[in-house]
C-alpha cells in the first residue's frame, strides 16, 4: 500500500512534469492564460503526509520547474505557498481523524469539495507565481488578470485530468 502510493506519486510526478515542461510550456492564450497542470501532483498527495515532507516535496517540485522555466525561485515559492494553503484548507474543511480516504482526489472527495480546494490552491499558487514573475505592482491589473485567467485554464485541465483518471480507476 505504502510503496504503491510512493510509486504512484513518483509516476504522477514524472508524467505531470513531463507534460508541463514539454507540452504545456508552449501553450498559452495570448500570453494571458497559461496552464500549470503540474500543481495537481501536490494537490493529490496523500492526506497522511507529514507537513515537513509535503513542504520538501513542494519545494523540490518547484525547484525542478524553475530549472526548466529558467525562473529560479518563482515556482518554488509558488509551490510552497500552495502547500501551505493545502494544509490550511484541509485542516479547516475536514476533520483530520475522520479522513479515511488516502488522497484528496476528485474521485474520493467529490466534485464540490475538490473544486473549491483546487481553485483556492491554484489561485494562491498562480498569484504568487505571476506576481513574483512580474515583480512590480505597477501592472497590478494585468498581473491579476493573468493569474485569474490562468486559474481558469489550469482548473480546466486539472479537472479534465482528474476526471479521466477517476473514470479509468472506477471502470
Amino acid at each position: 500500500m505504502n510503496s504503491k502510493t510512493i510509486f504512484l506519486n513518483i509516476f504522477r510526478w514524472v508524467v505531470l512534469l513531463f507534460v508541463q515542461i514539454f507540452l504545456l510550456r508552449n501553450l498559452s492564450f495570448y500570453n494571458l492564460s497559461t496552464p500549470f497542470v503540474y500543481v495537481l501532483f501536490i494537490l493529490v498527495l496523500p492526506f497522511r503526509i507529514p507537513n515537513l515532507l509535503l513542504f520538501l516535496i513542494a519545494f523540490g517540485t518547484g525547484l525542478t520547474m524553475d530549472a526548466f522555466y529558467d525562473t529560479m525561485g518563482v515556482h518554488t515559492s509558488a509551490c510552497v505557498a500552495l502547500a501551505f494553503v493545502r494544509i490550511l484548507f484541509i485542516s479547516v474543511s475536514l476533520n483530520r481523524d475522520a479522513i479515511d480516504d488516502p488522497e484528496p482526489s476528485l474521485g474520493n472527495m467529490g466534485f464540490k469539495w475538490f473544486s473549491i480546494y483546487a481553485v483556492l490552491c491554484i489561485f494562491v499558487h498562480h498569484l504568487v507565481l505571476f506576481f513574483l514573475e512580474a515583480f512590480k505592482l505597477s501592472e497590478l491589473a494585468y498581473t491579476f488578470g493573468r493569474s485569474l485567467l490562468s486559474v481558469v485554464f489550469t482548473m480546466f485541465t486539472v479537472l479534465l485530468v482528474e476526471a479521466i483518471f477517476h473514470n479509468r480507476k472506477s471502470t
Partner: protein, 275 residues
C-alpha cells in the same frame, strides 16, 4: 520553553511555510537578473524620491550659498574672458604668457549695506583687505554698469564710493565715436537711475540711445557698458539712463587691476613737477 515547542509544533505548517517561502524568495532574488535589478531599482526609486523631496527644501534654504558660489564662478569666468580679450594680436609677442596678460581680475562681493537716497551714497560690501581689496579699486555690477570705487577697507569689509556720490567721476566714452567724457552724478539730479556725461567735446555728434562705455582709464577696464544717452542738455552735457539699478544691487564685482600700482607709480611723480 516547552510551551514554545508545543506552539511551534502545533503551527508547524506555518513555520515550514515561512522557512521554505523565504528560501524561494531568496532564490528568486539571487538568481534572476531581472528581479535583482528591479529590487535594486525600486529601492533606489524610493530612496531617490525621498532625497529629491528633501533636496527641494534644502535647495531653497541654500539659495544664498548657491548665489555666492555662482557669483564667484562668474567672477572667475569674467577674469578668464578678460584674459582672452587682452591678447593683443598687433603686438609681436613671442611668448604668449596668459598669466601675465590678466590685467584685471574680478572679485565677487555681496552688498551688505546700500543707499541711494543720500547726496553721497556709500555701499558696504563683505570683502576686505584679507580678500585683496584695496583702496580705489573699481567696482562694477554683475549685469551691466559701473558701481564706483573702493573708499575704505577693513580686514573683512569695504566701503564703496558709489557712482551716486558727488565725488565719483568716472571716465567714459561714447561707444560709437570714442569721445571721452566724464560720468558724474548729482548736480541737481538725485535720480539713482540717471547720471550725466560731461566734458564731451562739442564736435562729436552724439545721438539719443547711444551707448556709453567706460573708457579704460581710471581703474575700469575698457568697454563696460554704463548706460544710454537719454537727453541732451543745453550746456552740451548728456543725461544718460544707467543700465544698472542701484536700488536692487545685491552683488558687485571688485576689479583688481594688476597694473594699478605700476600705473600710479608712473603717473604720480609728474604731478608735483607740473604744479
Amino acid at each position: 520553553m516547552r510551551n514554545l515547542w508545543i506552539f511551534i509544533s502545533r503551527y508547524n505548517a506555518f513555520f515550514f511555510f515561512i522557512i521554505f517561502f523565504t528560501i524561494g524568495i531568496i532564490l528568486t532574488l539571487k538568481n534572476n537578473a531581472y528581479q535583482r535589478s528591479v529590487t535594486l531599482n525600486s529601492t533606489n526609486e524610493v530612496v531617490g524620491s525621498a532625497y529629491e523631496r528633501l533636496n527641494v527644501l534644502k535647495r531653497y534654504l541654500n539659495l544664498g550659498q548657491v548665489n555666492d558660489s555662482l557669483a564667484n564662478e562668474n567672477a572667475k569666468l569674467k577674469t578668464e574672458l578678460l584674459a582672452l580679450k587682452e591678447v593683443d594680436s598687433s603686438k609681436t609677442v613671442v611668448v604668449n604668457d596668459t598669466v601675465n596678460n590678466v590685467q584685471f581680475t574680478y572679485q565677487s562681493a555681496k552688498v551688505i549695506k546700500n543707499s541711494i537716497s543720500q547726496r553721497n551714497n556709500v555701499i558696504t560690501i563683505n570683502r576686505g583687505s584679507l580678500d585683496g581689496i584695496e583702496k580705489d579699486m573699481a567696482v562694477i555690477s554683475p549685469q551691466k554698469g559701473v558701481v564706483g570705487f573702493i573708499l575704505d577697507v577693513s580686514p573683512h569689509l569695504a566701503t564703496i564710493r558709489s557712482l551716486l556720490h558727488s565725488n565719483t567721476p568716472i571716465s567714459v566714452s561714447i561707444k560709437k565715436n570714442n569721445a571721452l567724457g566724464s560720468l558724474v552724478w548729482g548736480d541737481g539730479n538725485f535720480d539713482y537711475r540717471k547720471a550725466f556725461v560731461k566734458e564731451i567735446p562739442n564736435h562729436f555728434k552724439t545721438n539719443l540711445k547711444d551707448t556709453v562705455i567706460t573708457s579704460g582709464s581710471g581703474g575700469f577696464p575698457r568697454g563696460i557698458e554704463v548706460g544710454t544717452v537719454s537727453r541732451k542738455l543745453n550746456n552740451g552735457d548728456f543725461e544718460i539712463n544707467l543700465f544698472n539699478d542701484f536700488s536692487t544691487l545685491q552683488y558687485v564685482y571688485v576689479i583688481k587691476n594688476k597694473l594699478a600700482a605700476e600705473q600710479k607709480a608712473l603717473e604720480t611723480p609728474k604731478l608735483p613737477n607740473e604744479q
